[in-house]
Amino acid sequence: MSNEAVLHAHSDVATHDAHGDHSHEHHHHETFITKYVFSQDHKMIAKQFLITGMVWAVLGGLMSVLFRLQLGYPDATFPWLESILGKWAKGGHITPEAYYALVTTHGTVLVFFVLTAGLSGTFANFLIPLQIGARDMASPFMNMLSYWFFFAASIVMLSSMFVETGPFSGGWTAYPPLSALGDASPGSKTGMDLWIVSMALFVVSSLLGGLNYIATVLNMRTKGMSMTRLPLTIWALFFTAVLGVLSFPVLLSGFILLIFDRNFGTSFYLSDIFVNGVGALPNEGGSAILFQHLFWFLGHPEVYIILLPAMGMVSEILSVNSRKPIFGYMAMVGSLFAIAILAFLVWAHHMFVTGLNPFLGSVFVLLTLLIAVPSAIKVFNWLTTLWRGNIRFTPGMLFAIGFVSLFISGGLTGIWLGNSALDIHLHDSYFVVAHFHIVMGVASMFGMFAGIYHWFPKMYGRYMNNTLAYMHFWITIAGAYLIFWPMHYQGLAGMPRRYYDFSIWESFKQFQDLNRFISLVAMIVFAAQFFFLFNFFYSIFKGRKLTNLNPWEANTLEWTTPIHPGHGNWVGEIPEVHRWAYDYGKDGKDFIQQTTPVGADESHH
C-alpha cells in the first residue's frame, strides 16, 4: 500500500469524464448543494475562499474608511453615520468605543480572514493540485471542512458586531488585560468572547487546510514533478502551510489560557491590577508579557504566512510575463526556506519595549536583521528576472511589479524597526503602521490581485476587462503610497498609533491637514476597488470567453487542463512532467511547457 493506491482511488473520479471536454455536464450526479455549497472540488473550494475573503475585504475596508473619517475630520459631524451606526455614532460623531472596535475588527479581519484565508485559502486550494498534477487535494473532505470552519469563524466574528456592548476593541493583537477582563472596556465583554470563539474556529480551519496542503505537495506530485521542478508558487504555498501548522497551535494555547483567565478565575496573564470602578483585583502571579510571547510566536510567522503566497505567485507571474526563466530558482527556494526558519526566531522584535532583557533584545535584533538577507536575495532575483525581459504588461504583471516595489519600500523600514535602539522611539507610532501596511497589507493585496487577474481565466474560463484593471492598478498603487508614505513622517515625529483624536495634542496638531489628506485618499482608493469588484463579478458571467487553453503562454501544468476542468482536472491520464517550470526563451523557443519531453539536441540550463 502506498501512494499509488491513493492516486488510483482518485483517478476513477476522472474516468467519468474521459469521453468529453464538457466534463461538468456528465459529471457524477451533482446537485446544487454538492457542487456549489458542500463541494469537495478544490477549485470550487478555492472560489468559496476567494469570495468570502472578498466580502471581508469590503467590510474591513469600509471600517477603515469610517475610522479614517474620524482621524481626518475629528471636529465634523456626519448625521448619516448615526443612521447606520446608531448609538456608536451619536450626533454623527464616531464614539471612542466605536473607533477602537472598528480599528480592532479591521485589523483582525484583514490579517486573518482576507490575507490568510482569502489569500492562501484561495490559491493553495486552486493552484496546488493544478500545478503539481493531482486530481484533487489529498483529502477533499478535510478541505471542505477547512472552508466551513472558516465560514463558521466568519459568522461568529460578524455576529460580534451586533452585540449590545460591541465587538472587541483592544487591538488585533488582543493583549491582556483588555482582552482578559470583561470590566476593562465594553468590547472586552461578549464581543471578546465571540472574537476568541471565532479565532479558535479559524485556527482549526487553517490547520485542516495546512495539513492537506503539505500532504498534497509531498505526496501527490505527478510523475516527473520532482521538488525542484515545482513552480515557485507551490514552494511558497508549501512553506506557508508549514508555518501555519507550526505556529497557529501556539496561538491556540495562548487563547486557551486567555479563556481560563476570562471565565474561570485564573491569573495566567493577570497580576496586581486595579480597575476603575471595580477596585483592586485578587489576581496575582501572572504575566501579561507571557501572552505577548505566545501571540507573537504566531504573530510573526503569520505575517509571512500572508506574504509568502504573494511572493510565490509574483515569482511565477513575473517570469511568465517577462518571457524569461526566473532568475536563481534555487536561491528563491533557499530564501523561502531561510525566511520560514527565521520567521520562528524573531518574534520578540515586537516586544523590544516590554522590558525585555536588553541582552535578549540584541539577539533578536541580530536574528531580525538576518531576514534582510533572504529578502534582498528575492528582490534581486525579481529585478534580474525583469531585466531585459520581453515584458508583457498584463494586469497581473503590473500588480506583480507593484508588489516588488512595495516590498522594497516596506522592507527597508523593517530594518529601521529591527534595531531595538531605534524601535524605542518608533514603537507604537505611525511609523510601524506605515511599515506593516506597505510591506504586508498592501503588498500582499497586490500579490492577491496579481494572482486573481492572472488565474481568472483558469478559474472561470473568461478574461477580466483590461481597461478597468489598469485603472484599478494605477489608482491603487498611487493611493497606497500617498496614504502610507506620509505616515512614516508622522511616526518619526512621535505620533502614536491607536489614538482617537490628535487634534487635542499640541504636538500633533500640525498633522491635521496631512491626516485629512490621507483620509481623503483612503476613501478614493476604497472606491477604486469597485473597479475590481465590478470587473470580477461581471467577467464571471459576461467576460470575453477563453478560446485557447494557454492564454498567457505559460509552462505550468494548470494550462494543460481543459478550459473548464471538471472534478479531477485532467481528462484521461495526468500528464507526465519532463522539465522545470521556467523554460522561457530557451533555444529560440518562446516557451516550452513542462509536459514537453526534453529533446535530444536541447541545451542545458
Binding site: 500500500m1 503539505i214 509531498l218 516527473g224 520532482s226 521542478r229 491556540l252
Partner: protein
C-alpha cells in the same frame, strides 16, 4: 509498509509516488502531531516561565501524596501517579501489539490488543478523575490553591491553574484517543480493514496514542517530579 515501490523506482522525490512511501493520511498525522507538540510545548514553556519567575512553589511530594481507599493520614508521595503513568505506558505496549497484529492481518489479535488499550486509557482517565476529585475536595481548583509553597509561604494560584489546565488538556487528548480506539475497534469487528486489505488506520491511531503517552511523560516530569 511494503517497500516494493522503492525497489521499482529508485528516485524517491521525482514525483508520481510518495517520497516517504506512506499514504497521505499518515503524513498528515505526523504533521498534526508536530503541530500538537507545539501546542503542548507552548503550555509547558508558559508554565516554566511563570514558575521560575515566581518566588516559591508547592512541593509535589506533599501535594500528591494520597491514594484511593488509603487510611487517613497515609503518606504515599507520587505512588498513585506512578501507577497512572505505568498504566498509560502499558497501554502503549498493547497498542504496539495491535499495530503489529494489523500488519500481519491478524484480526483476532488486533481486537484483543485494542480492547486492552481502551481499557488502559479508561483506567488512566478514571485515575485522573479520582485525583482531580480528591484535589478539589482539598480546596484546589482553577483560581484556588490551598497548598503552601515548599518554604511555608503562601503560594500563588498559578500552581493549580497550570496543573488543571495542562493535565486537563492532556486528559482531553487521552479521551479523544480512547474514542478513536473504540471507533477502530468497531471498524475491526465490522471487518472494514479486512475488506480494505490493510489495517493502516490502526497505525495512524497508534501514532496518536503513542504521542499522547509521550506528552504525558513531559507533563508528569514537569508537574510531579520537578
Amino acid at each position: 509498509m511494503s517497500t516494493t515501490t522503492t525497489a521499482t523506482t529508485p528516485k524517491l522525490w521525482s514525483g508520481g509516488k510518495s517520497p516517504f512511501n506512506v499514504e497521505y493520511g499518515k503524513l498528515m498525522m505526523w504533521y498534526f502531531l508536530m503541530s500538537d507538540a507545539f501546542t503542548f510545548g507552548a503550555f509547558l514553556i508558559s508554565y516554566g516561565t511563570i514558575r521560575f519567575s515566581t518566588n516559591g512553589w508547592p512541593d509535589p511530594n506533599v501535594v500528591f501524596k494520597s491514594f484511593p481507599f488509603a487510611p487517613e493520614g497515609m503518606n504515599a508521595p507520587l505512588v498513585f501517579v506512578s501507577i497512572m503513568t505505568f498504566i498509560l505506558i502499558i497501554s502503549s505496549v498493547t497498542m504496539v501489539l495491535a499495530v503489529k497484529a494489523g500488519q500481519n492481518m491478524d484480526k483476532k489479535a488486533v481486537t484483543t490488543n485494542l480492547i486492552w488499550t481502551i481499557i488502559g486509557g479508561i483506567a488512566f482517565l478514571s485515575c485522573q478523575a479520582w485525583e482531580w476529585n480528591h484535589l478539589h475536595h482539598e480546596g484546589a481548583w482553577w483560581g484556588m490553591n490551598p497548598f503552601l509553597n515548599a518554604d511555608g509561604s503562601a503560594s500563588s494560584t498559578n500552581f493549580t491553574n497550570y496543573f488543571f489546565t495542562i493535565t486537563g488538556f492532556h486528559g482531553f487528548h487521552v479521551f479523544s484517543g480512547v474514542i478513536i480506539n473504540i471507533v477502530m475497534l468497531i471498524m475491526t469487528l465490522m471487518d472494514k480493514f479486512e475488506q480494505r486489505g490493510h489495517y493502516l488506520m490502526i497505525e495512524k491511531a497508534g501514532l496518536y496514542w503513542h504521542f499522547v503517552d509521550l506528552v504525558w511523560v513531559f507533563v508528569f516530569t514537569c508537574f510531579y517530579l520537578i
